[in-house]
């Protein structure tokens, strides 16, 4: 059910640069995105969440993570894309920001990659204003362009708390 963090020997080393950081890479729609592996706690298969009344639509609900209640955010809905039905490959990436643990529902995860920090470039205006704040920059690794995500902005617990107040 739970996939532990991959060990280092399975990583691709696309660069000899020492200043590289490991990123979890996945596909949403046609684009490839990445989040720092350090922020990722685990990856689980998606089990239906319990809906939280009056929460924003991108909050799918809450699930039980070993006795703790965590919220699950749907990445597609958060980026304004139509949600996809649950598949075998649907996963929840459990991450931690600001001492709070939450889950990000993704269609699938594909890889762990070393991303050379210096080569990260500011986000080009490929996204709308609204989703721009979710992005930390882009980087090209070989053939692939990877968009780096800002998990803190995606979860945005401050905004959620204000909604609840």
């Amino acid at each position: 059910m739970t996939l532990t963090k991959p060990t280092t020997d399975t990583q691709q080393t696309t660069t000899t640069d020492v200043n590289a950081e490991k990123y979890l890479v996945f596909q949403i729609g046609n684009e490839t995105y990445g989040v720092p592996l350090l922020q990722v706690q685990e990856i689980r298969t998606y089990t239906p969440a319990t809906r939280v009344p009056n929460a924003p639509d991108y909050v799918l609900g809450v699930i039980n993570l070993r006795g703790n209640i965590i919220a699950v955010i749907d990445a597609r809905t958060r980026f304004g894309l139509p949600p996809l039905p649950d598949e075998e490959s649907t996963v929840v990436v459990v991450a931690q920001v600001n001492d709070k643990t939450f889950g990000l529902r993704l269609d699938s995860v594909s890889d762990v990659m070393d991303i050379p920090i210096e080569q990260i470039q500011p986000t080009p205006p490929i996204a709308s204003e609204a989703t721009q704040r979710f992005l930390n920059g882009v980087v090209q690794v070989g053939e692939r362009v990877i968009i780096l995500l800002n998990l803190r902005e995606i979860f945005d617990i401050e905004a959620l708390s204000q909604l609840a107040a």
């Binding site: 009056n54 209640i69 919220a71 939450f102 909604l163």
Partner: protein
């Protein structure tokens, strides 16, 4: 706070509590030598520990107290009520000083000397012939002790001469020990451990730490930059002490010199101590209640224990709950094809998991004696203040309860017991006239039944005057002159806000905050309270609380395919919803008629943002703090015990919900916040009423 400090405070609090209990036991019973010894041991260890931590004022004061106890022990003098009161005051003072050390470090209290003088005067008053042996603690101390705190001395610092007066008394030889650990520290040679070991062979009366710490750049991690100087009291030969020190600390420098020279100056000050402080004759002391704390047995064996943070236990509990869920998934995955061996393994596993679960839950539980042991002292003081005689009995103190619950029950029980003394137990002369024993009895007991804990406070006092309750209710306009409500209804009034029958407001109870607060506190723990009383015979309060705060009885409610929980304590009744019962103000604000009474209707579907249901469902009437709502739901999913989980910990507060729980199949269900639902409904109805 580092763990050594934490350990010190934990132990210190236990010792202070121990002293208090023993004093109370001594006061009420025969002067059993073993009990006196227990008192002495507590004081002695406390003195040693605080000296080792560098709290010289505390250790000095306790030393004075110990000397006084010593004369009690050696001469088997009785503990007079006056002496007991003074000793208890000393315990209070120690407790207060201990609390101050947390923030202010080693500070003295001017009250110390005066109190010690009073205690010694009281001791001498008992038997005037022993004046010459007045313990040294009575001598007015010179307040130069400030230089002796740990860590602050400059290299030239020398123990101040005032040490001597902390060090006279017991007649055991004392030594000044200089100890410079080996320049390189190793794991086996921990200087702090050495100091701790010294405690086992004698008594460290005072301790100075002299630090010689170089600039950080030159600091070597395994070097020892500092030395200790101790005043040490032991019956062992200096050679043995030296051997002990050198054994534990190879390569260390140790100097031991006897302290006799300093000691041989009988303190002139103590001679001149107390004529004006002579105690009043005992007849003038206030009437002191005889309190029988018969649960305190000195020298009772205590279970071995370790301290574990609640966080660790909670993490363990969460994990075990997960295993329980995984186990039930495994069990339900069995089918006709499952082979015999797998089946057997699953069955066995099930049994072990269940036991594991129970045992982990039990870790959080503590015996109620942790709470109950506070009360004998309070009863004693309260009864003395009110001039009443009370025999306080405790029963079932081994009953176990969740720690957080225990703490939360402290206030309600304090209130109930005070009330029993103040309003329940009659003054001795009144009791005599009524043919009752002069000494009233208050009994505090705890027992477990059907997965719940019951705590009872029972007194044999005058009972509740139902007629006076009725008059008061009339006065408050709750009922009319012609109403004669049932006894239960009248007792219920006691728990209503604004009700207090105390004819005179004493400083102990009946100050507006009353039984309504007790009731609210108990209910907030998921418990309930009831009262029984008989005129002239007494009153009995019964508290019913869950085993742990985290677990409550819940009722599962369904709307569409969703599942919600309400606390069972809030549920009044449930019945089929018929539109006949329904009425709406301005077509919007809905009410239902329940036997002639209109209650605001809340549609759960609407509340959780679901479309209206096709069929009429069920009504569940919920009540909290005297207000009701009717909740319209699709169906009831049954009653279950649920573990309350926080939504805020990893997410945010969700309006209308008190938290969440994990169902047997691992899914999450939200728990409705009944008081919030009721508040919303009633606010709305008030708004509409204002418009109308």
């Amino acid at each position: 706070m580092d763990s050594l400090m934490q350990l010190f405070y934990d132990e210190a609090n236990e010792m202070v509590e121990g002293m208090e209990q023993v004093l109370l036991a001594l006061e009420s019973g025969e002067p059993d030598p073993e009990t006196v010894n227990a008192l002495f041991r507590y004081a002695h260890s406390f003195k040693g520990n605080s000296a080792a931590m560098g709290f010289t004022h505390l250790s000095k004061f306790t030393h004075g107290l110990e000397s006084a106890m010593e004369s009690l022990r050696k001469e088997q003098r009785p503990l007079t009520p006056e002496l007991a009161t003074l000793m208890l005051q000393a315990v209070d003072l120690i407790r207060a000083m201990l609390e101050r050390t947390r923030t202010e470090g080693d500070v003295g209290d001017p009250a110390c000397d005066a109190l010690l003088q009073q205690i010694n005067a009281a001791l001498n008053g008992v038997e005037a012939s022993t004046v010459g042996q007045s313990p040294s603690g009575t001598s007015p101390s010179t307040p130069t002790g400030g230089t002796s705190s740990v860590g602050t001395p400059t290299p030239s610092d020398v123990p101040p001469a005032t040490v001597s007066d902390t060090a006279i008394g017991s007649g055991t030889p004392q030594y000044r020990i200089f100890y410079q650990p080996a320049p390189t520290l190793s794991a086996e040679h921990d200087p702090l451990q050495l100091l701790a070991e010294l405690q086992e062979y004698g008594q460290v009366v005072a301790c100075w730490f002299r630090e010689q710490i170089p600039p950080v750049a030159q600091l070597k991690p395994d070097a020892c930059y500092g030395s200790w100087e101790l005043i040490y009291e032991t019956a062992f030969e200096p050679a043995i002490v030296r051997a002990l020190l050198e054994l534990t600390a190879e390569g260390a420098e140790v100097r031991i010199e006897p302290l006799q020279s300093v000691l041989e100056q009988p303190s002139a000050a103590s001679e001149a101590s107390t004529p004006h402080e002579q105690p009043a004759p005992t007849t003038e002391t206030p009437r002191v209640a005889a309190v029988n704390a018969n649960t305190v047995g000195a020298g009772k064996s205590e279970a071995q224990s370790i301290r574990v943070s609640t966080e660790k236990i909670d993490a363990l509990m969460n994990l075990v709950s997960e295993i329980v869920i995984a186990q039930s998934m495994l069990s339900s995955a069995q089918n006709a094809d499952t082979d015999e061996r797998t089946r057997a393994a699953i069955t066995q596993m099930e049994r072990h998991v269940r036991e594991l679960h129970e045992r982990v839950m039990a870790i959080r539980l503590l015996p109620v004696s942790y709470l109950f042991n506070r009360f004998p002292r309070m009863v004693r003081d309260t009864a003395a203040k009110l001039g009443k005689k009370v025999n306080f009995e405790i029963e079932g103190e081994e009953t176990e309860l969740d720690r957080t619950l225990l703490e939360a029950l402290s206030d309600p029980l304090t209130h109930l017991i005070r009330n029993a003394i103040d309003h329940g137990i009659e003054p001795p002369d009144v009791r005599r006239q009524q043919g009752k024993p002069e000494t009233g009895t208050i009994k505090l007991s705890a027992f477990q039944s059907e997965g719940r804990i019951y705590i009872e406070v029972r007194d044999d006092g005058k009972g509740i005057d139902t007629e006076r309750v009725r008059q008061k209710a009339i006065q408050l306009g709750w009922i009319t002159e012609n109403d004669y409500p049932s006894e239960e209804t009248l007792y219920d009034f006691l728990f209503q806000p604004g009700f207090s029958t105390a004819q005179q407001v004493s400083d102990l109870s009946g100050r507006g905050v009353g039984m309504d607060v007790v009731k609210r506190n108990v209910e907030s723990l998921g418990g309930s309270i009831s009262v029984q009383s008989k005129r002239g015979e007494g009153t009995r309060f019964l508290l019913r609380v869950p085993l742990t705060l985290a677990i409550m009885d819940g009722l599962g409610l369904t709307v569409a395919d969703e599942h919600y929980i309400v606390p069972l304590t809030a549920v009044v009744e449930a019945f089929q919803y018929e539109s006949l019962q329904h009425t709406a103000l301005f077509d919007r604000h809905e009410m239902v008629n329940v036997r002639g009474e209109f209650i605001p209707l809340v549609r759960l579907r609407e509340f959780v943002g679901l479309p209206k249901g096709e069929r009429d469902g069920l009504i569940v009437v919920l009540e909290q703090e005297g207000q009701q709502i009717a909740l319209l739901i699709d169906g009831i999913a049954g009653q279950q015990q649920v573990v309350l989980k926080s939504l805020e910990e990893n997410f945010t507060r969700v309006p209308g919900f008190a938290g969440a729980t994990i169902l047997g199949d691992g899914r999450v269900a939200l728990i409705l916040d009944v008081s919030d639902l009721i508040r919303r409904a009633h606010q709305a109805s008030e708004r509409y009423a204002a418009i109308a």
